[in-house]
Symmetry: none
Subunit: 366 residues, 2 copies
């Protein structure tokens, strides 16, 4: 639940944001909306002014006494900026939002200052567009926010960063720096690299061929529009985890290439089919609601007349039956005489729900 | 604009659809809406019945005299089915909707019958889900529809297929079979293969790591959920064009791998940066709005507490407000305490709905 007023804010005291790009500005916008005092700083006076104009906070001053400092600068200057902030504000909790965590922690240890007040973090939110003008207060709503404590982090520091995440509508989730870096290599860095490599091939195309582009190409290449300057730093910082994944990707891709070069060879079609099947399996592992595997739910397909109020009536009756709806999808079928509603429930509820819905006159699709 | 009545239909006479999967059913739904008589056939009586129940047409009979026949069967049986239809209905125009065109034309020439009445085609529309129940009358609206005449195609046949495309809201665009296959290798087949390969890597992940998945991973792997049985045929049929593209993709990817394995080596960061830059350039080459589905609805994002009955209550209240719901999506928010419901309504209803929902105590995001 997001509290409606600043009276309920989990953030005690004021917040200093260093770096007024997409993330810094978005955090500022959301905190200001909650009535929190936010000081915005940036090495670029133009960036700083833009974010302030945009509503992300007020101009930072050396006299500010923030209780929480959020470092939102590029990865290559994150560790030095965190170290400087820890020194300048010895009582404040300091966090950063960089996309790679182990290298920053390692660099920080070289500065020699106490890291009690430091906890790394990484909001799993972003856009392919950067800068203050892409900022939005709801950027973090419903998203995971990784909190990475280390051996010296104080409980107070960890709690402060978790509170920040919750305040912004995100849900905090604890990963060590190493676990985090391994996870994001898979869910973020490999997809970024593969998307860029795929989009790079489009430079070879006859322009008219690209007029046939559909949603599949658009979706697979959307993140290829991301900022190279930022991503080169991220990929470099996580090179060991990422190269291991890329190596395996290439091994599989090479098998497919061999098969495509001689599709009539024994086993060639099986090799192609295997990758397609494994792709099905892999995409099914991406969690849906509540972080659970969607295949853990049972699915019922209910046919409803395509008229106003039918969906609400169905959901009301599911509530009356006493079954909790875990997820729902509409099969939106303009022109069809009926609509299909996919209802996801816990497996043990499936039979009861099916029977009770049929008893109430609903049609279940085969 | 799609004409509202059959009086304006470009389709003269009746239409026979062979194969009641996603494409056949979607074409049937759209034509029936226009008042065209559609005969639906399928080797599977169950598929045929489902599509007819769904509203895609009436049951085919040997006595039907269609003027246009649309073959919507899997690629490996497309040529033989087209040949059989040409023989059974010598006066009808016959087209197919298979994703690869040169191989089918080559196979057809082996059957020895006149191909005057045949024109290949390929609507650039699809979904990662197949079957009649995924069919939708607006599947082709705003999409390119490739028409592939060959040296023997009659003008009448070409015109009939172009009229079909226009009737369904698509844009007919002429490509030779060879040009078509080269183009779809780039805009469709390589993205499918790369997406499957990427999703395949997810099978290696620790399950908890995937809880950090965001929109980037979801978008890049969405089409990896596609049907392997269909895609193995498509990729095989277009193997020469596709393998050339894949070879180049792998050469670039290998350079990145070398760079990631030794990021401190001279030129390593430049190699990584180059791919990211070329990805920016490539994605910018994809033409803009042309070819994408028109965003005809306005979207409101409503935040709801994650507890039973809230979604039903929201939909009931939208009904009471008197606004018709055009579509609805639940935002998957793993572990979040709130859910996001994307509500799609006609643009002119957006402000009223937003105001009335806020007045009733609902929270609108953004």
């Amino acid at each position: 639940m997001i509290p409606a007023t600043s009276a309920a804010s989990r953030i005690k005291g004021s917040v200093r944001i260093v770096g007024a790009g997409l993330l810094g500005t978005s955090i500022g916008l959301a905190l200001v909306k909650k009535g929190v005092t936010v000081f915005v700083d940036d090495v670029s006076p133009a960036n700083q002014k833009l974010a302030i104009d945009y509503g992300a906070g007020v101009k930072a001053s050396p006299l500010d006494e923030p209780s929480l400092i959020i470092v939102c600068v590029p990865p290559d200057v994150t560790a030095s900026t965190v170290a400087a902030e820890l020194k300048a504000h010895p009582t404040a909790v300091v966090t950063d939002v960089a996309s790679v965590k182990a290298e920053i922690l390692e660099q920080l240890s070289l500065f020699g200052s106490s890291l009690n007040n430091y906890v790394g973090s990484h909001p799993m939110a972003g856009r392919e567009r950067g800068g203050a003008i892409a900022g939005r207060a709801d950027l973090f709503v419903g998203r995971p926010w990784v909190v990475s404590p280390h051996s010296d982090s104080s409980k107070h520091a960890v709690q402060s960063v978790e509170d920040l995440a919750i305040e912004l509508g995100a849900f905090p989730t604890v990963f060590s720096a190493e676990d985090h870096d391994r996870a994001v290599a898979m869910v973020s860095h490999l997809p970024q690299l593969v998307s860029s490599l795929l989009a790079s091939q489009l430079n070879l195309a006859v322009a008219n061929d690209l007029s046939l582009a559909g949603q599949g190409l658009r979706d697979t290449t959307r993140i290829a529009a991301s900022d190279p300057k930022l991503w080169i730093q991220i990929l470099e910082a996580n090179a060991p985890s990422l190269s291991a994944l890329l190596r395996n990707f290439l091994a599989e891709a090479n098998q497919v290439l061999v098969a495509l070069e001689e599709p009539a060879a024994p086993g060639a079609l099986a090799a192609i089919g295997n990758v397609l099947e494994q792709g099905n399996r892999g995409v099914n592992r991406i969690p849906g609601k509540h972080g659970s595997n969607p295949t853990q739910y049972s699915q019922l397909v209910v046919m409803i007349d395509d008229k106003p109020g039918e969906l609400a009536r169905l959901l009301t009756e599911i509530g009356l039956i006493g079954v909790n709806l875990e997820d729902l999808k509409l099969e939106h079928s303009p022109g069809a005489l009926i609509g299909l509603v996919e209802v996801f429930v816990m497996p043990e509820m499936e039979i009861k729900l099916s029977q009770d819905l049929v008893a109430r006159g609903w049609r279940i699709a085969g």
